[in-house]
C-alpha cells in the first residue's frame, strides 16, 4: 500500500509544475496543457482523499472536473484557433487588447 502522503506529494508537485507552466510559458498551447496538469493534480488529490475517507463524493467530483476540463479545452482551443487566425501567433502576451 502506497502511503497517502505520496499521492499528495505527487499531486502537489504536479500542481506546482502546472502553475509554473501557466506563469512562465507564453505559448497558449502550453498554457492550456499546464492548466490541464493543475486540474489533474486536483483530481489526484480528490481521489486520494476519497479513498482515504471511504467516500464516493470525491470520485464524483472528479468526473465533474473531467467534464468541465473537456468543455474548457473545447472552448479554449476554439479561442486559440480564432486568435491564431487573426494574430498569426499563439503568444498569450500578444493578446492584451483588454488592457485597461
Amino acid at each position: 500500500m502506497v502511503p497517502t502522503a505520496y499521492y499528495i506529494l505527487l499531486s502537489a508537485a504536479l500542481f506546482a509544475i502546472g502553475v509554473l507552466g501557466v506563469l512562465v510559458r507564453r505559448n497558449a498551447m502550453v498554457v492550456f496543457m499546464s492548466v490541464e496538469l493543475m486540474l489533474n493534480a486536483a483530481n489526484l488529490a480528490l481521489v486520494t482523499f476519497a479513498r482515504e475517507r471511504l467516500s464516493v463524493d470525491g470520485q464524483v467530483l472528479v468526473f465533474f472536473v473531467i467534464t468541465v476540463a473537456a468543455a474548457e479545452v473545447a472552448v479554449g482551443l476554439a479561442l486559440l484557433v480564432a486568435i491564431f487566425r487573426t494574430k498569426r501567433t499563439a503568444d498569450v502576451d500578444e493578446v492584451s487588447t483588454l488592457r485597461g
Partner: protein, 652 residues
C-alpha cells in the same frame, strides 16, 4: 329672489366676454353687445339695490352660495357672493361708470383692428371687478382682485407692439403681485386664527359657516413673532392687508405702476386706473374695517401712507407734460386721500370720496381721451393750447370735472374732500391734515395749469386739425359732468338743523360701517374753498399769461424758479430710479450669478465632481488591468497562497 338676481350682475358681463371671445367678429356687434351687457347689469343692480333698501336695516345682507369651492381638511371656502349696502354702492359705481365708458369706447376705439378683443377684455374686467366687490369671502375677493389685475395687464398692453406699453403692462402686474403676496399671507393668517375666510356668518345647508369680521375680539391680545418683539396678530394681519391695498390702490411705496399704466387706451385709464380697479384697495380696507380698527398701530401707518402718497403724487402731477400722466398722478394723490381717510377711521368719507372721485376722474379721463382723439393722438400738452373753441363740449365738461376735483363748491369733490378734512380736524390728526390740505392746494393748481395748457392760449403745434368728438363720446361726458355736479349731494353734511337729505350715504352704509355722521366744519370748508379757487386761478393765470414761453419740447416756465426741484417732481421724486438701482438691478445680478455661475459650477459642479472622482479612481485602478493573462494568473496564485497561508497559520 335676490339670491339668484344678484348672480345676474356679474354673469351678464361674463356672457358678453364669452360672446366676444368665441362668436363675435364684427366691431359694431362687439361694442353693442359689450355695452348692452354692462347696461343690463347696471339695471339689475339698480333693481337689486331698491329691493335691498326695502328690507329692514339689519337684514340688508344677502348671501348666495353657488357651490363649494375649496373643501379639504378644515379648509372650507364657498363660491359665494353677497349684496349689502357697501357692495351695492360699489356695484352701482362699477356698472354705472362702466356702462358709460363702454359706450364711449365705441366711438373712441372705432377703427382699431383689435376692437373685438378690446371689448372682450373690458367685459371680463367688469366681471372680475364685480366678483371683487360682491365676494362674500376673502378668497373670492382675491379672485376678482387678481382677475382685474390680469385685465389691467391685458388692457395696458393692448397695443403690445409698443415697447412702452408692453413694459408698463408687465410692471403693473408684477408690482401688483407684490401686494397680492401680502394679501395671500393675510388670508393664511386670517384662516389660521379664525378658521374661516367668510366675511359674515353664512347659513349654508343647515349649518352656519362663521364669518371672521364678527369675531375680531377673539384675537384681541394674541401675539406672534419672537419673544423680544411680540406683534399683535391684528396688527400683523391688517398690516399685510395694507400692503395688499397699497399695491392695488397705488400707494407709497408701490404706486410706481399707475403712471406707466397710462400706456393703455384712454377709456381703460378712465375705467380701470381711475374709477374702479384702483379703488379696490380702499374698498377692501373698508370691508375689513374691524380688523384695521382693532390695530391702532396699523391705522397710524395707514394715515401716514395715505397722506404721503397724496402729497408725493400731487407734487408730481404739477410737473407733468403728458395730459394723462397729470391725471394719473392726480389719481394716485386722490387715492391717498381715501386711504388716509380709512386710517383716520372715516370709512364713510373714504367711500364717499371714492364714489365722487370715480365720477369726476372718469369724466376727466374721458375728456382727455376726447382731446387726444380730437388732436390725432397728441398727448403732450405743449402741443395743445386754445382748444376750447374747437371742442366746446369737451371743454365745458372738462372744466366741470377739474373744478370738482379741485374742490369748488358745490361740486362733488368739495363735499367728499371736505368730509375727510373735517374728520381730521375733529380727531386731531394735525400733521396729516396739513399735508392733505397742502395737497388739495396742489390739486387745484395743477388742474388750473392743465385747463390753461389745453384749452387756453394759442394752438402751439399745427400738425393736426382739432375737432370735436362724435356724439357717442360727448354724451357720456355730459352725463358724467352732471354726475360730477350732483354726486356730492349723496352725503351732504347737516348745513342747517332740520335739513332733510343729509348724510344719505352714511345712513345707507350704517349697517356695514356703523359710523356716525361727521360734523360740518365751516372753518375748514371756507379755507379749502378759498384755497381751491385761489390756487386753481393761480394755476390758470400762471400758464395763460406765460403761454408764450411754452415751447414744444421746452421746459416749464416754473422751472426757472424751482430749478432741479422741478425735475424731481417730474420724476415723482425718483422712486422709479430708486427701485431700478436698489431692487431690479441687484435682482438681475443675483439671477445671472445663480444661473450662470452658482448653479452650473457650484451645485452641478458638485454633482459632476462626484462623477469625476469616480472616474479618477477608476483611472488609477485601470492600470492594474495590464491585459497580460499571465500577470493575472500570477496575482491570482499569490492571492491563493496568501489566503491559504493565512488559514494555515491563524485559522486553526
Amino acid at each position: 329672489m335676490l339670491t339668484w338676481l344678484i348672480w345676474l350682475i356679474p354673469l351678464l358681463p361674463l356672457v358678453g366676454f364669452l360672446l366676444n371671445v368665441f362668436f363675435i367678429r364684427q366691431e359694431r356687434a362687439a361694442g353693442l353687445v359689450a355695452s348692452a351687457m354692462v347696461v343690463a347689469s347696471f339695471l339689475v343692480t339698480l333693481v337689486a339695490t331698491f329691493i335691498l333698501g326695502a328690507l329692514p336695516e339689519e337684514e340688508r345682507l344677502i348671501q348666495s352660495v353657488a357651490w363649494d369651492w375649496i373643501t379639504t381638511g378644515s379648509l372650507y371656502v364657498p363660491f359665494a357672493i353677497m349684496l349689502d349696502p357697501l357692495t351695492a354702492v360699489m356695484t352701482l359705481l362699477v356698472t354705472g361708470v362702466g356702462a358709460l365708458i363702454h359706450i364711449y369706447s365705441i366711438g373712441y376705439m372705432h377703427g382699431d383692428p383689435r376692437v373685438v378683443r378690446y371689448f372682450a377684455y373690458l367685459n371680463l374686467f367688469v366681471t372680475m371687478m364685480l366678483f371683487l366687490v360682491m365676494a362674500n369671502n376673502m378668497l373670492l375677493l382675491f379672485l376678482g382682485w387678481e382677475g382685474v389685475g390680469l385685465c389691467s395687464f391685458l388692457l395696458i398692453g393692448f397695443w403690445f407692439e409698443r415697447k412702452v406699453a408692453a413694459a408698463a403692462a408687465v410692471k403693473a402686474f408684477v408690482v401688483n403681485r407684490i401686494g397680492d403676496a401680502a394679501f395671500i399671507l393675510a388670508m393664511l393668517a386670517i384662516f389660521s386664527n379664525f378658521g374661516t375666510l367668510n366675511f359674515y356668518d353664512l347659513e349654508h345647508q343647515g349649518q352656519v359657516v362663521p364669518g371672521f369680521l364678527e369675531r375680531i375680539p377673539e384675537i384681541a391680545g394674541l401675539t406672534f413673532g419672537p419673544a423680544w418683539q411680540p406683534i399683535a396678530i391684528a396688527t400683523g394681519i391688517s398690516f399685510l392687508l395694507l400692503i395688499g391695498a397699497s399695491g392695488k390702490s397705488a400707494q407709497v411705496p408701490l404706486f410706481v405702476w399707475l403712471p406707466d399704466a397710462m400706456a393703455g387706451p384712454t377709456p381703460v385709464s378712465a375705467l380701470i386706473h381711475a374709477a374702479t380697479m384702483v379703488t379696490a384697495g380702499v374698498y377692501m380696507m373698508a370691508r375689513t374695517e374691524p380688523l384695521f380698527v382693532a390695530s391702532p398701530t396699523t391705522q397710524s401707518w395707514v394715515v401716514w401712507i395715505g397722506a404721503l402718497t397724496a402729497f408725493i403724487a400731487g407734487s408730481a402731477a404739477i410737473a407733468q407734460w403728458d395730459i394723462k400722466r397729470v391725471l394719473a398722478y392726480s389719481t394716485v394723490s386722490q387715492l391717498g386721500f381715501m386711504v388716509a381717510a380709512c386710517g383716520m377711521g372715516a370709512y364713510v368719507a373714504a367711500i364717499f370720496h371714492l364714489l365722487t372721485h370715480g365720477v369726476f376722474k372718469a369724466l376727466l379721463f374721458l375728456g382727455s381721451g376726447s382731446v387726444i382723439h380730437g388732436t390725432h393722438e397728441t398727448q403732450d400738452m405743449r402741443k395743445m393750447g386754445g382748444l376750447r373753441t374747437a371742442m366746446p363740449t369737451t371743454f365745458w365738461t372738462y372744466v366741470v370735472g377739474a373744478a370738482a376735483l379741485a374742490g369748488v363748491v358745490p361740486l362733488a369733490g368739495f363735499w367728499s374732500k371736505d368730509e375727510i378734512l373735517a374728520h381730521a380736524v375733529a380727531y386731531g390728526y394735525w400733521p396729516q391734515l396739513i399735508i392733505l390740505f397742502l395737497t388739495s392746494l396742489l390739486t387745484a393748481f395743477y388742474m388750473g395749469r392743465q385747463v390753461a395748457l389745453i384749452f387756453y392760449g394759442q394752438q402751439r403745434d399745427h400738425h393736426y386739425h382739432a375737432h370735436e368728438s362724435s356724439r357717442v363720446m360727448t354724451v357720456p361726458l355730459v352725463v358724467l359732468a352732471v354726475g360730477a355736479m350732483l354726486a356730492g349731494f349723496l352725503n351732504l353734511p347737516t348745513l342747517f338743523s332740520g335739513m332733510p337729505a343729509a348724510h344719505l350715504l352714511t345712513d345707507w352704509l350704517h349697517p356695514v360701517l356703523h359710523e356716525e355722521a361727521g360734523k360740518f366744519n365751516l372753518m375748514v370748508a371756507l379755507l379749502a374753498t378759498a384755497g381751491a379757487v385761489g390756487m386753481g386761478y393761480l394755476g390758470w393765470w400762471a400758464y395763460t399769461s406765460n403761454a408764450a414761453k411754452i415751447k414744444v419740447g421746452g421746459k416749464d416756465p416754473a422751472y426757472h424758479y424751482t430749478g432741479d426741484l422741478w425735475d424731481g417732481m417730474e420724476q415723482a421724486w425718483y422712486v422709479d430710479v430708486l427701485y431700478n438701482t436698489v431692487v431690479i438691478a441687484p435682482f438681475r445680478g443675483l439671477g445671472n450669478f445663480l444661473a450662470r455661475v452658482f448653479d452650473p459650477q457650484g451645485i452641478d459642479g458638485l454633482v459632476v465632481g462626484v462623477g469625476r472622482l469616480f472616474g479618477w479612481i477608476a483611472g488609477g485602478l485601470r492600470q492594474l488591468q495590464s491585459g497580460y493573462v499571465r500577470t493575472y494568473a500570477l496575482v491570482f496564485t499569490m492571492g491563493a497562497v496568501l489566503i491559504l497561508g493565512f488559514m494555515l497559520i491563524f485559522a486553526r
